[in-house]
């Protein structure tokens, strides 16, 4: 019998087809890769990108020259532009804002490696440090409300033809819808229980163990109870924190280790599938924000990383309804991934 489950945070119902559980095959219609020689993200080709914004590089080396370990550059085809004043206007019953924001690329290694799971944890942690550094810089810009860090790996996940691992970041003058729903859901739970819903989820999941993919220093990876997609996995810090940019140097290394572990399990267990990941964290809390709006956010919200392997095309039913049919139960998925040795 299939089961319907409700996401406790935002209230979305999903169908878990518990009896049809099976391991989907990694589908990956790969278009031809761009030539490695022309990769704009490899060491030595710094001149092919816009000037770098930030880099972790060997002392004494100049910007936009070799010698870096991780490098942040503006996107060449940005969704949003950095220059300009934000203007809000109405158009009849619609609201419009001009497309101001930041769109940056975080190149996670100077080597031509495609999957972040193939980097070592210390290198991944350097990428995490880039995210944090960019956060701390962009938060000072009062035009922006939210910074979204995400990654598209593999062509069918939107990763494009350049096979060089990088993540992206966009700063927006609005808080995106899914984030807002999560913030509202977490606040509602906190208002009643005076506890963080994510901490409660971690506690319940670690107790039952059925949906735990990995449990290690500082972080836990789990297949969420109301997974939308087969093998959906979340990584959460065990210690409560609403703002990702407050992550300590030690925890960055643990976070890098967990990212490598989970993505390595996906790579080895599911035939190297395409995937997306998205970092969910508290929006910017500018002093001029509505009074009381963020009063409890430090206690009620909990940053985390959501990973979705792209194994099934999501069909009209899902998009049109926000109601997903997940062909593999999270218990099956977690059990399978626990048993995959991984890196």
């Amino acid at each position: 019998m299939p089961e319907l489950r409700r996401d406790p945070i935002i209230g979305r119902w999903v169908i878990i087809a518990v009896e049809r559980a099976r391991r989907p095959k990694g589908v990956r219609p790969n278009p031809p890769a761009a030539s490695e020689k022309e990769c704009p993200f490899c060491e030595g080709r710094e001149a092919t990108t816009p000037p770098e914004i930030f880099a972790i590089r060997k002392e004494g080396t100049a910007a936009d020259t070799p010698g870096w370990q991780t490098r942040v550059v503006p996107s060449r085809t940005p969704f949003l532009k950095i220059e300009g004043k934000i203007t809000h206007r109405g158009k009849g019953l619609y609201d419009v804002i001009n497309g101001i924001g930041a769109h940056e690329i975080i190149v996670e290694t100077p080597q031509h490696i495609e999957n972040i799971a193939d980097l070592d944890e210390a290198q991944i942690a350097k990428g995490i440090t880039c995210w944090i550094d960019r956060f701390k810089d962009l938060v000072r810009d009062e035009r922006f409300k939210y910074v979204q860090v995400y990654k598209n790996y593999g062509a069918s996940s939107g990763g494009g033809t350049i096979r060089h691992t990088r993540s992206q970041l966009i700063a927006t003058p609005i808080t995106p819808k899914r984030i807002k729903e999560e913030l509202r859901g977490a606040k509602r739970y906190f208002d009643y229980h005076e506890r963080c819903i994510f901490c409660d989820i971690i506690r319940q999941e670690l107790e039952s163990k059925a949906r735990v993919v990995a449990d290690a220093d500082g972080f836990v990876a789990l297949a969420p109870y109301a997974s939308r997609f087969p093998f959906e996995t979340w990584i959460l810090p065990k210690e409560h924190g609403c703002d990702f940019s407050g992550t300590s140097v030690e925890n960055r290394l643990y976070f890098g280790r967990m990212i490598k572990k989970v993505l390595g399990k996906l790579r080895d267990g599911l035939e190297d599938p395409p995937y997306n990941f998205v970092l969910h964290t508290a929006p910017f809390r500018h002093p001029k924000a509505k009074a009381g709006y963020w009063k409890t956010i430090a206690e009620d919200y909990h940053w985390h990383l959501e990973i979705i392997p792209r194994l099934t095309p999501s069909a009209g039913f899902e998009w049109g309804t926000g109601f997903y049919i997940c062909p593999v139960s999270p218990e099956e998925a977690a059990k399978y991934l626990r048993e995959v040795e991984g890196p």
Binding site: P8, G92, N98, I170, K177, R178, Q204, S314, G320, F323
Partner: protein
């Protein structure tokens, strides 16, 4: 330069590329490469391959589960939900769950293989729509079902697995999230203004004109100002109506015309793209939704949904709806 636009119904922001919009030929439309099957379960003559039919449009002289039909409704052989049983709601620690009770039906729209709605006559499309409405109305009698989700997946990129085209009807024991958001958003608007937001959108779109594709006596087809997908199209009844399944015969006839025409435009402009269409209608929960207005949403599947879209609900639309409408009208 891009623009951010907010959907007035659910509050979703999207990023629209207004400066250098993508043209139809900029999208890589994959050919529909289906798995080869020797016998199609939906073709005339193969009726035994499906579960027994629920209903069919067929002459009185032909027996059920034999050839001679024009439209045929069968239970899904691999249903997402099961029809028998009582709803059993439970808690699981801090989680909620219920068993998967519901109906999952397949509406085979033509006995001929590889024909899509644009290949049918207006009258044949009308018979299909009438079948959609009849099945929805019939399932609404079952109080366990709170929502009738009627949708079509055309092409592999849209999630179809067979190239014999068909629609699906899923009766759900709860209101799905996107619809709930639309219901909440339109109710909030109605409460303040005592007007339906969809009616207001129609007025504004008709005034702006540039996003309208076609209008007949009962329906308007247009590219919504806050599209989530390039070349997204909505079809709205001009008269304020809450339920699709209560459409009059005249309305279904007008809908058949505009639907066939719209899908034909889309096929011609985008080179036979994969697409999904979904009928959004009021729930079957006994409540009144005076601010809600049923409609069809058509989404060509020509761009990829990447991390940003699913992870944040922030969509990047490379072709503004006014430009998409321009192409769809065939006046580039």
């Amino acid at each position: 330069m891009t623009q951010l636009r907010r959907d007035p119904i659910v509050g979703r922001w999207v990023i629209v590329e207004v400066e250098k919009p993508w043209k139809p030929e900029d999208f890589a439309v994959a050919p529909h490469a289906y798995e080869e099957i020797t016998r199609c379960p939906f073709c005339a003559g193969n009726e035994r391959m499906t579960p027994p039919e629920i209903t069919a449009v067929r002459p009185d002289t032909s027996a059920p589960d034999t050839p001679g039909w024009q439209v045929r409704v069968v239970p899904n052989k691999f249903p997402a939900l099961q029809i028998e049983g009582e709803l059993d709601r439970r808690g699981d620690g801090l989680y909620d769950r219920t068993n998967g009770i519901g109906a999952h039906e397949i509406i085979v729209e033509t006995p001929e293989h590889a024909k899509d709605l644009p290949d049918l006559t207006y009258e044949e499309v009308r018979l299909v729509l009438e079948t959609y409405a009849k099945r929805s109305a019939d399932l609404q009698k079952d109080a366990r079902f709170k929502y009738m989700m009627l949708f079509r997946n055309y092409g592999i990129a849209a999630g179809a697995t067979l190239d014999h085209n068909h629609a699906q009807l899923i009766a759900l024991p709860m209101i799905p999230k996107n619809v709930l958001e639309e219901l909440d958003g339109s109710a909030a608007y109605f409460e303040y203004r005592e007007r339906c937001i969809f009616c207001d959108i129609l007025h504004q779109e008709k005034e702006d004109e540039e996003r309208i594709l076609e209008e007949n006596d009962a329906f308007v087809a247009f590219c919504p100002y806050v599209s989530r997908f390039p070349f997204e199209i909505w079809i709205l009844p001009k008269e304020h109506k809450d339920f699709f399944c209560r459409s009059t015969p005249q309305e279904l006839e007008a809908l058949a015309r505009i639907l066939k025409d719209t899908l034909t435009r889309m096929r011609r402009t985008l080179n036979d793209p994969a697409y999904n269409f979904i009928i959004h209608t009021s729930p079957n929960d006994g409540q009144e939704y005076p601010g809600y207005h049923w409609h069809i949403e058509i989404m060509p599947r020509i761009s990829r949904i990447a991390g940003l879209e699913w992870g944040t609900g922030l969509y990047v639309v490379p072709t503004p709806p006014e430009v998409a409408a321009h192409y769809l009208k065939g006046t580039p």
